[in-house]
Symmetry: C4
Subunit: 321 residues, 4 copies
């Protein structure tokens, strides 16, 4: 069977995916497994391409902490230098000797006590200018810690779906025929309701001698479930409504099928809408397998146990036909 049989089907290819039909001749993955897009922006200055807010929220936790601590230290160095440059009489205190380096350290510690508003007072500002600078520094301290702590909390409380997807998608038996399937579960103690799945397939074909990418929104057995308990197996039946109804394993491989997946849900307890995206490429397909159950009753019968380590457990099937 040739892939040219894609045309003339009931299901129409779509063009509104935001991807270009001819942008992917090189065989890149369109969407990464973590849901990000393999896209880099160029042509305008760096600072116009960066939303500091987005950057601070997306960077790894360790980078974030180092960045924030770096800002804290930098501000202290700046203000310490100012206090230091105001001369030895600008700060009063009993702790450190009079050497230049110790004077600078004293200025540094006074700065940090001012910036955090801890203000022990064992070092204190003397004179008009020093007092004005300290007054401004404590103001700046409050304002910048507001941003930093706000970001810190926003990172911590960011609505997340915590969905884990099976490593592979399957071509599995389904009713009298076959279906594309993948499985997902929430791994954490969150509970998702009104869970919606949207699966877009990208398939690379040659039309009129030109390589092009076609996109299909795949019809699902269920595109929405009320509640995500143990797990959800998302199913696209390979029936007469599917653009891939008579595809063989070779057709999928040759067409470098990619499934682009968006899951959207409502966090039951906290009234947030959460979204997670991922994709599967053809190399992640297992042709001829079915998922095994991933739950069991607790011994007392009171609980259902979701066995998250079995998310990827499948058994091979042999086709009857």
């Amino acid at each position: 069977m040739s892939r040219a049989s894609l045309s003339g089907k009931k299901s129409k290819s779509i063009d509104n995916t935001g991807f270009s039909p001819n942008s992917d001749a090189a065989g890149r993955r369109l969407i990464n497994r973590d849901g990000t897009v393999s896209l880099r922006k160029k042509g305008i200055p760096f600072y116009e391409r960066i939303s500091i807010y987005h950057s601070l929220l997306r960077m790894p936790r360790l980078y974030f902490i180092l960045t924030v601590f770096g800002i804290y230290t930098s501000l202290n160095i700046i203000f310490a230098t100012i206090y230091f440059s105001l001369g030895p009489d600008s700060l009063e205190g009993t702790l450190l000797a009079d050497s230049l380096s110790e004077r600078y350290l004293q200025a540094f510690f006074f700065s940090s006590q001012t910036l955090t508003t801890v203000g022990y007072g064992h070092i204190s500002p003397v004179g008009f200018v020093t007092n004005v600078v300290a007054s401004i520094e404590s103001f700046i301290g409050i304002m910048s810690f507001a941003l930093v702590t706000g970001m810190f909390y926003a990172r911590f409380s960011r609505p997340e779906a915590y969905i884990r997807f099976s490593d592979h998608f399957l071509v599995a038996p389904y009713r009298e025929g076959k279906a594309l399937m993948f499985r997902l579960a929430t791994t954490k103690n969150n509970h998702l309701t009104d869970v919606e799945a949207e699966v877009t397939a990208a398939i690379h074909v040659t039309e009129h001698g030109k390589a092009t990418t076609k996109f299909y929104q795949l019809a699902l057995e269920f595109s929405k479930i009320n509640s995500l308990g143990v797990s959800w197996t998302v199913v696209h039946p390979l029936d007469e409504n599917s653009p891939f109804s008579d595809f063989t394993q070779q057709d999928f491989t040759a067409g470098r099928l990619e499934l682009m997946i968006t899951i959207r849900a409502f966090d039951d307890h906290f009234s947030n809408t959460v979204q997670q995206r991922t994709s599967y490429i053809q190399q992640e397909m297992v042709y001829g397998a079915r998922f095994l159950p991933m739950y069991e009753q607790s011994k007392d019968g009171k609980y259902l146990h979701a066995l998250l380590d079995k998310l990827n457990d499948t058994e091979t099937v042999t086709w009857q036909h």
Copy 2:
């Protein structure tokens, strides 16, 4: 009448509830009265199953306060130990004697004054290392209090529906026939608008000799009301469109009927969408009763009084047929 009569009805059973048709042979409740699911996750390490954010938001208030206070105390112990280990000259102060225990306590109190940024200054850091540690501690204090106070406020301001459901659901007279009914009211000084109800029934039947659970989305008299004033009686008419149209009391009992309920609404004053879930099991059914009114006019006629203690008030009815 046998429960086999479920099949062949107009209403089709649904499969997208997120519950498995064969997961509940043991007769567990699918959803608890407080809306949670009787589900436990296993098979992956504890820390991968826990969203600290969700845990902190869902734990009882007392636990939360104890947890936070425990963290505060732990941080103080850690930093007190550091200050203590830096020797007797690391802190300057006049309050406590020189015994080891009192030195430790002084270090502890200095730590707490630094962590909270209260910084009285009657104890103050001496020397380079102590000052650096104090500088870091006040930074850590600000950052961790940001998380803790953010969580505290998030718990306090969490959008909640404050809906109370009647203890039982009824099979009550309705027009010429019968209907399943339950009643709900908001108990607090919040006002809900655009209130939607979604009721899914689970019924346990034996098909082809195998115990299975069937799910039905129940048609409601009204699935949405503009505004939740005194109360709302949610009604599923047991008419020809119901999967239970000719069920007797015994059929409901034998089928271990469970009603799974989701209420979603818009908080009028604060522009939040709120959601609350609950369920009724067959033991919570009263067959042959109707709800009594739960409001009265105030004496001056200016107010309507919602009588929340009458939420469960019913009267027994005897069926004419």
Copy 3:
């Protein structure tokens, strides 16, 4: 014409308003002009009827500030009493004399300096117990100020529509017939888009000798506009689809018509959904008037001026028929 002509119309009365058809014999207004409902809850203890969060957000600003200041003072009194009761040696400081009242004041001021974490240090805690209490107080201070300042900011930033409604609704000429109309405008520097109106009419009729209230969702000329510029005149045509198509002024009066209005919109600049509700009763009807324009071009032609003081400007019309 008798009001009995309500029945048999095309438009069907609705029952899902959340109001009871027989709860309003006394002629109360169902919804107040500020959108609240004339409803009081009874029958359960006070503390179960109150959401502290909702109460703090809805109380008038002055009450809020007084409440917060009252809590602050109370906490200080409690802790001052503890410090005072720990004896004259529990606090060290130079400011006040040794009289009992001055000792108490010193304890009070020390408490306030601890609660706010200002911690000057001119009064400082002495001894184990006092230090522990101070350590706890500064912790409580941070936690309770988190709630209070969170509420304060939430009140300040609460999404609001800032819609002003015309004082009266009109029965005005419309195309070849008549229409019910009212007008609204945003008064502040916010910009609403995707503005939706929902108008429910309540009319009191006597059916089979029994006073009852019927509810109708009124069809509007436009139920949604893209953008709320100068103002929006919401129009319900009194045509053959209206339940009031052949009502006379007397019919409206006798039926004690009440219009219950919900406006929902999207705040253009801040991505909030906002909602505002109001109602008109029959006494607020002007029969035979039309709204006058409430805008003018600025002299340089660059701006359109919304003349908000003309929101209520109408002119009387005499019906041709």
Copy 4:
């Protein structure tokens, strides 16, 4: 062709844009390029027209910082004046001399140390009244910094689409005919999904000898895309369904066509709905051009590069007919 040919088309003009059909005789732009409306409100007092929250969020960053710093300074001046007026014995401290100006400065610095709760303690309050004032000031400090820092963070974290629109809209070849087109891209490291476009056209015509403005919601090739990768060219085909199907360049010019555009999307990473608006006027039309591609493969084929500097790159086309 005369513009009178607008009437009698399939596409019906709409009236629910919130703009008045006769408000724009002077030829103003209805919506500015930054999405704001050229509207000023009059007729009610200034303080009733201003939402302080909206004003603080919308003002330029420098103004905001100056405003906040101004408030901080003003509060310090007010409290400094109070402390100063309480006499030379109200504050204890060692820093400044006894001249009146230095006493005032000391009061000012004490105030700032109290307001920010830095509280060094080298200046400290003496006596009942001063202590009460300081206690109130630290309370006011915490409350007002809560507002100010909340605003500061809200400005920083405000959901934004960061969409850049092409400078011009084109009349370009499209299939067998022509289409109106403009192009947009996100410039920052945010990723938008479920992006919707809504385009309303305003055209000024003369009907029955009277200048009037007609509005049309334009049908788009796609009104929604799944994901906004490199860019999106929004297309309104000038086919038989368009109100402008047989418009010439002169017709667009004479009718002073204005396109009013709303883009709404879901921020993939942070679960916010974001909205951005703009408009094009007839002077920003290029008749007979098409957009050039604005992406390229990275050399290693792993990334797609969005070339944001080519957003406006077009090439001229000559019409075949």
